[in-house]
Amino acid sequence: MFDNLPILSLITFLPLLGALALMFFARISKSDAKGQLENNAPMVALLVSGAVLLLSILLVWQFDSSTADIQFEERVSWLGGGIDYHLGVDGISILFILLTAFLTPLCILASRKSIKKNMLDYMVAFLILETLMIGVFCALDLILFYLFFEAVLIPMFIIIGVWGGKDRVYASYKFFLYTLLGSVLMLAAILWIYFYSGKELGAPTTDIIALQGLDIPAGPQTWLWLAFFASFAVKMPMWPVHTWLPDAHVQAPTAGSVILAGILLKMGGYGFLRFSLPIFPDATVKFMPLVFGLSVIAIIYTSLVAYRQKDMKKLIAYSSVAHMGFVTMGIFAANVQGIQGAIFQMLSHGLISGALFFGVGVIYDRMHTREIDFYGGLVKRMPVYAFFMMLFTMANVGLPGTSGFVGEILTMVGAYQVNPWVAAGAALGMVLSAVYALYLYRAVIFGEQTNERLDDIEDMGKTETFIMGSLAFFVILLGVYPALITDVTAASVDNLIANFNAATADIVSGQGS
């Protein structure tokens, strides 16, 4: 269907084109037309991101999930010296593109009313953000990946810095400081790999697929693994480099939080799958216990911290860290259930945490506070809202029948086969997530309404119901029929594991003897 059509480039850069068009018109229009342009900007952005969503659906439709091969591949010589413009997707990356394409229009919809200033700029930032996020998941060249991966943070900084809350400076500073640490190390590692590939493969290359065939000695592998890990761990975020996330979430506007939790956190997990396991398999085995330890700490520690929060967004942010703990645990279990579960958990968490942040946004837009104590008894005036929040709260808790369950159980099953301690520790998270999630729900939605400022709070409107409804639909659908995802990812994950096992067979058996 897409013969000779650079479909991935189209999907990736269509939002950028939309953003450029918006900027262009803003530049050329006279001052009286500016206001109108501001008003129409969300519609333009919605149309563009809608088109991207449509194309992504077609892409997944056309995707052949029976093979682990890279599909819809595009390769154009770019910087020379083995650095190409190389795009392509497999079962691991394609659904993240769909998730991005799905969440972006919802974010734009949600922002129409909640953003009060510089609407056009905001939409431009979001469209650029979409391009960069999709780029991360399409890129098959290390340099290209790095560009997208780091550049994604710039529109995010701007969104937090311009449209954020009152402590946005501190938040974006913290965010920046953490990510800087990771980026610098990763860049150094990329350089090393590039030169090493020149020696090893004859000609230097940054082609990710080619690099997967690279046999790097154990010593350097350790350092390279750590360098990449620094970058991905911050993004996930893993304990103890997670403290930027609660602040960033609290300060970000609603849609910013949705993208942050929904997509940006997943780039770390995706990075582990794309680089750490295939290119540094020996080091991965070596650091497995470290990652397991950090994952379990993340799950228990941040769940407990979440329970004590007074700010709704902080609570959900901490719960995100805990849920990402399941992801890292699953990935480094390095078996089918673990990795499939980790991918599932990432996609599912994208929907659930996105929905929860939308949910906070709904009442924040009305009352301009996220303080838990301010609320209480909302169910009386907002029954529809209460219904959706119950559904997503339960999904967050990992109730079977919602997508939240599938990822958790699969990653635990995966980890259990490697180390029962880890799975048992993670299973404690099942209890703790119930503790903080139900505490939040009870304090905000149940109980007697005592704050009279809530007397005439309105229930969700049509747009809000549409957003929450569409997320709820997929949360349930994937919870009841998870094969929708696992079928797509199966071949690529199997292939990944087969390669990983082949590469590590000698050291694993060496340990055994």
Partner: protein, 668 residues
Amino acid sequence: MLYQAIVFLPLLGALIAGLGGRKIGEKPSMAITTGLLMVSAILSWVAFSKVALGGHTEEIELFRFMDVGGFKANWALKIDTLTAVMLVVVNTVSALVHLYSWGYMDEDPHKPRFFAYLSLFTFAMLMLVTANNFIQMFFGWEGVGLASYLLIGFWYKKPSANAAAIKAFVTNRVGDVGLALGVMTIFLVFGSVNFDTVFSAVHDNQDRILSFLGMEFNAIELIAFLLFVGAMGKSAQFILHVWLPDAMEGPTPVSALIHAATMVTAGVFLVCRAYPIYEAAPVTSGFITVLGAFTAFFAATVGLVQNDIKRVIAYSTCSQLGYMFFAAGIGAYNAAMFHLFTHAFFKALLFLGAGSVIHALHHEQDMRKMGGIWKVVPVTYIVMIIGTLAITGVGIPGTGNIGFAGFASKDLIIESAYDAAHGGSAAGAFAFWAGIVAALMTSFYSWRLIFMTFHGKHRGEKKVLDHAHESPLTMLIPLGVLAFGALFAGMFFYKKFAYGVNDFWGHALPMQHAQIAADNLYAAAGTTMSDEAAGHHSYPAWVLWAPFIVSALGFVIAWFTYMYKNGVEKRVNAEGGPLYNFLLNKWYIDELYDATIVRATRWLGDVFWKVGDIGIIDRFGPNGVAAAAMSIGKRLSKIQSGYLYHYAFIMLIGVAAIIALVMRTVGG
């Protein structure tokens, strides 16, 4: 389609009333949910006759659920006798509770939501009992937990109801951690989570050793134990029982359906369903026996002194579940299921009867403010008497089945325990004696409830008594039907459940245990086995009479305490005494948990947050760097824009450096 209809009609009702309740209105929502459940209940009896009586088991695979590597499970409906028994129990009680709620919830403004929850619960419970694999069962298991949470907290304005709802959910989750780990262990050992595959492979893995959390375990024992931890949570066994009494904060029909007849028996069902595992796990089975027997005893002691009518029945439920577990623990799975079956009728009856009293007395639940109302609510009084006779196990000793429902099943359990004890099992002996003592206390607190509620002088406000009235027909009909069950369920089904006549159980449950009992009998009589010959003449007379005697004794003590001159009780209440307070405060277990686990959780949360995150990570991480930056440049206000550019700059420099190096490499 029969089985699909039974399972999915309640879901349909829940969706219609839950999502459309405000559009279609109250009465239609109630009518639809109740109507669909009635249909489902009737079809369940059809299914029961087909499967349990006719022997037509079935397994219907609907569609894929999990399919990742070998971790495969389908949405399925497995219908054998065990399931069929649960279908009739769940749907019958649920349909009656739906009907009852028309009257009981009459003044509630949120009826559609209430009925939707009831139907949702029923659906989840049905998914639990029809599962053919552990994953779907887990779905139902947690689904009923959700419904229970929603219904306990149904009156969402009450802080106590909210607290109880969360307590129930979280305590159950603790159990579910065990269950989940059990399922993981099953997958690790058997490479499958399907019942049939797993159970048929138990024998081959009997001697397998697993290391779990640094210790070596027999794999089957470990699985059995972990699954049982789940059962302890759901079925409120000792140490995880704390949520059940608090769950009485929910509306009374909920207590009858979920916290007496159905959900809390899910743990018993699980052990029976997984009997091949438990048969191969003697150590865990012994543990179950002891813990079940202890719970039967413990809960009964607490039940002796409670003053809230619903809490008395709640502890009674906890205690009766203990009976079911120790029966399962000694291998008398059929006796456990029989007691589950009869208990559903008489316990739902007792709860709904109590609800009728509460309804009559304008939501008064404290028995100290009741008394002397039997004339006002005569029908309720009669059915409560029937329920009490059933739970105290009144019947003709030695006949096996001629008596109220609880007589047939409880005596079967006690006799099975005697068998186990006689066969040399210390756990069985403990269970036997605990069962006898608990039966004495059961009789006492049950009659105490009757005397305090219905007899003597009214101790509440006169105004309340003047307005008291018998409940409407929608509430009395369910009471009547359940009373019928409490009267006859034991007699009618005794031989089927106890001896599996006409191949009642099929392959669903083993019958060796009944075989032992029957063999004693035939050996004594010098005859060969026949279906009709079932009886208990081989037991020593004192074993057969003991339950009857302690039951009568309990009645007499209760009568002397609460009826005779009406004096003893007041003195006990006034003077208290350490034992009385110990029991009244439920052995202080809630206080213990509050002081340890609950506090520790909060404390740890605060420490991790304020010391870990803020005090250490942030202080030495980003803030430390910021402080350094401040002292050098004092340009914190410019950080935002400044660093953004720096950031982009570093990236560009990086890329430029790469390009430069590339050029050099290519050029060189």
